[in-house]
Symmetry: D2
Subunit: 311 residues, 4 copies
């Protein structure tokens, strides 16, 4: 979508009787950059903080209540896992993201998705190249995580391989299609391979894009998992960009989400017992804790940390 | 919700950059009456016909295309069962409906629901009483359908039973709660039974209400099943009222829905063969049709009927 | 279903290559009584603890691993909210339950349901009557809870009302249907009202029944909410009966569920800070806690309680 | 999974009271080859044709009914779009498939999925190479389809590009990981890049694998879309392999699915009118048809074709 088209969308103005959020209208349609070529932009939304309250009260009018009471109700709903009122808000994003990120993202099955189809159209030559600062070694303690940053030499070599392979597969993609990005035929004596086949030659760092629509309850669930420090960096930056849009959209629910989900702490039955024993003055060691080595380590880390690590 | 509150909601006016549908704004918040005490009213919506087209084209701008092309694309999508672009539109209803209707309705699991809670609040004294014209006998040919209308005498007797039982159970509901509809205590020397228990004494014709939010694809699926002549009359009238709101909201998609779903015809492999044999001039009888008696009957009925029975 | 039919089902024996759980086979098809006329019985199941492990390892064989490692992996999955491996197990129940309980239950949209249809068939004369010990007053502190048990006199009166109303509406149900429970016509000169209409005269304490099929992850979610002390007693007893079947089916996952969900503790960001301040020796009072009155009360209660309240 | 492990699984035999399908047990765990390195194999299942009938009858016993009646009921359910009884059967597959096929497949959100994780493990060097007979040109009439087969020369060139690029990106994948397929370090002086990053260098024709579990209703929906002639060849072959497993599993439901879904014909309101006009002897031409050019073409094609094209 061209800058001119976005400007045109942003210049339009309608009147509506629907709940409207000026802070979100301010950024409507505007791409928020993520990674080297990606973005997140809000395309449409339904509802606001008051819609959550209204659903919780159903037949009650929202007009007569004060904001402080509404905030109290929203916090209560979040704290006690009442999910349906949050489902009454809906948001639609346009996202541009690398295919390997899209493959993680799509596991969340509770959203509506329309993805750019490489059966129908030719993909642009745009692929993700990590910053050197994000080129990390395989973690030696966590099978699915990252460890140390690569040395400058090794990082340079990795970047060289990523770039040259991505460029080459794209060149061959065009050669197989017999078509350049402008849709012009390259060689009149050849037949182009079907797009649905040629695409298989592209690497997983190529960018795709989609419309992604979800209700607030399920969005919070997605964000809790993907804005988490265990999530892969390349999806976490999208979650972080979306958190900022949610803060503009439903500021009260967002505060409650931070307090009761994102920065909350979940303790197992045994871990809670340990906390209580300690509060009662007992010295609890690994040996008398009843925890496994791994859980003990996790609890120790947690103990030394404020729960406000995230935002 | 009082008339004054609805008027207040309808008098509010905001500016937005979002897609807006004036025809739907016209009826926003206004209850559309259904049955004797029920209603359907649109509370909020997201998207319009153009949003369907936009999702189908993803990265294409919708501004440059003409309406005729958009209509053609929407018809194509509907005809070829492309469901995801229709999922990009969302609508939220406030519905008041008898509990036995709510029990059928809730089977559709693809919506978000917030129902008035009789654990928390006292239900109003409002129950459904059918018109005499809708008091039909059990069908003798269809195990789950209606047959002839009851005679006036019998209808009057049924109505008497329904009304007197509904009144009595409500009187006892209040007695058990020890509370009238204004929340006043009836007898200071008694303790009121918990609402979550007392409600079990109400009959299934009592009205409940909920917020019900769904995307357009799943709404069409719901409407196809519930606006169908085989659906129970008491849910069909709700589906009919909602069809009218959809017509205002997404007129092009609505036309496509009528043409390719609501009034379309589905023929089994064998039935299609019979049509072809007949078009080729062959006389096809039940005996050489390959159909069961029941299917033959259904096909005969269909043959003599235009497919435009519904709207 | 008659006792003879259940006995016949239980006497059948087949050979299979599928994962099989002898402890669950022992109770297969046998109704576990709940409330006065209800039951829960397991009809079918797919998978076992090893299936969870196998899904987590995907291409790994499960045969080579020891049980202790499997248990460790299952605990790890539960602790870190990995939900998909638990979705690989599925169970199917046959449940008989009062309609007002069914209305709460059906809110969980992630199950497959086939309910007995009162459009098609006549409901039996079976309704729920609470024990006097469960006839509680409306809670004065919790809008959706129960308080004190009613006095014997008042309980007797409530039971009288519930029973006599339920009996009367059923009598009129039959009169409207012009049919007794054996399907015999009551009066040859009258026409019976359609079943789909007559059913509306029944009260919400009448029993219905359904087949209910769900995967283990979503079952755990259901059980966490419905076996909770805040759930209505009449649905909690069903959750408790199902917990016992899950314990037989997937004992390792069940232990993990108790440790990391059912008996776990969730602390908000602020509550966790308070725990840490207390562990550091600080005296934290309501005034300097940063909590609302309600949250402070909840935390106080939690502090004085082991987390093993449930099972 | 090794052949020895599959043999071991196939040699195990348990006794069960559950519904069992010998024809499906015969192929349980055995990979059914698809494409050059892919497969589909049934890992587990729940229910059979009788379970569908049983759910439809809920409280009725299945034992007393004859197969002919059961078949009639299943056909009736399929014909009248009763979906819930089919949801009572569940099947679990292990599938190995190219990533670009997996990306289409995952759009169906109604299944449970556990995919092999390239964050955690190193992917094998296995990529899809089409047969020359499947290397088709872009269709000139259908934007998302295939046209003519490429000439032998051009096909050879395409295959060369696909193979050499896939080999090269894998070589660099290993170099970045600093690890070969046996998990051995390639160069002790280098640090391996994190697996979650290195994987982005692989092309979309690399194979992945997953466990995929779904109920029969949603499986039928998937198969209707993916066994369709408009589906991409590379996913259609998987759908075809699965159709054969469904035929063994629930033969009666499978017949009904072919008759009322796979080989059925859906006619729009206008198309049905045309059929009726023709049956009445009228000559209907494009000009007086009321159809668009495209729809007229589709109807003409359909008219000349039996509806039994598929199986």
């Amino acid at each position: 979508m061209s800058t001119a088209e976005i400007t045109a969308l942003r210049e339009q103005s309608f009147t509506t009787r629907r709940a409207t959020v000026p802070a979100l209208e301010d950024i409507l349609y505007t791409p928020q950059p993520v990674l080297d070529h990606g973005f997140v932009r809000v395309i449409d939304y339904m509802g606001n903080d008051a819609a959550i309250v209204q659903a919780a009260r159903v037949s009650y009018g929202s007009g007569t209540k004060q904001v402080s009471q509404d905030a109290g109700l929203i916090k209560y709903l979040m704290r006690h896992w009442h999910s349906t009122p949050f489902e009454m808000c809906e948001i639609k994003y346009h996202v541009k993201l690398p295919i390997f990120v899209a493959r993680q993202w799509i596991r969340h099955r509770t959203a509506n998705v329309n993805e750019y189809s490489a059966r129908y159209s030719v993909l642009d030559k745009e692929f993700y190249t990590p910053d050197a600062a994000n080129l990390a070694a395989q973690s030696v303690i966590n099978n699915q995580g990252r460890g140390e940053i690569l040395s400058p030499d090794q990082a340079a070599h990795v970047l060289h391989l990523l770039k040259s392979d991505a460029s080459q597969v794209y060149e061959h993609y065009q050669e197989m299609l017999n078509e350049n990005q402008q849709g012009e035929i390259l060689d009149a004596n050849r037949t182009g391979l079907a797009r649905e086949l040629a695409r298989m030659n592209l690497t997983l760092n190529y960018y795709t894009q989609w419309y992604w629509k979800i209700d607030l309850h399920n969005l919070f669930h997605f964000l809790r998992l993907r804005a988490d420090s265990h999530a892969q960096y390349e999806i976490r930056v999208y979650a972080d960009a979306m958190l900022k849009t949610v803060e503009k959209w439903v500021p009260i629910a967002f505060e409650a989400f931070k307090e009761y989900r994102l920065n909350s702490v979940q303790l197992s039955a045994t871990a809670w017992t340990i906390v209580q024993r300690r509060l009662a003055g007992e010295t609890v060691t690994f040996e008398n804790s009843g925890l496994t080595k791994r859980e003990w380590g996790e609890l120790e880390t947690l103990m030394g940390k404020s729960a406000t690590g995230h935002f």
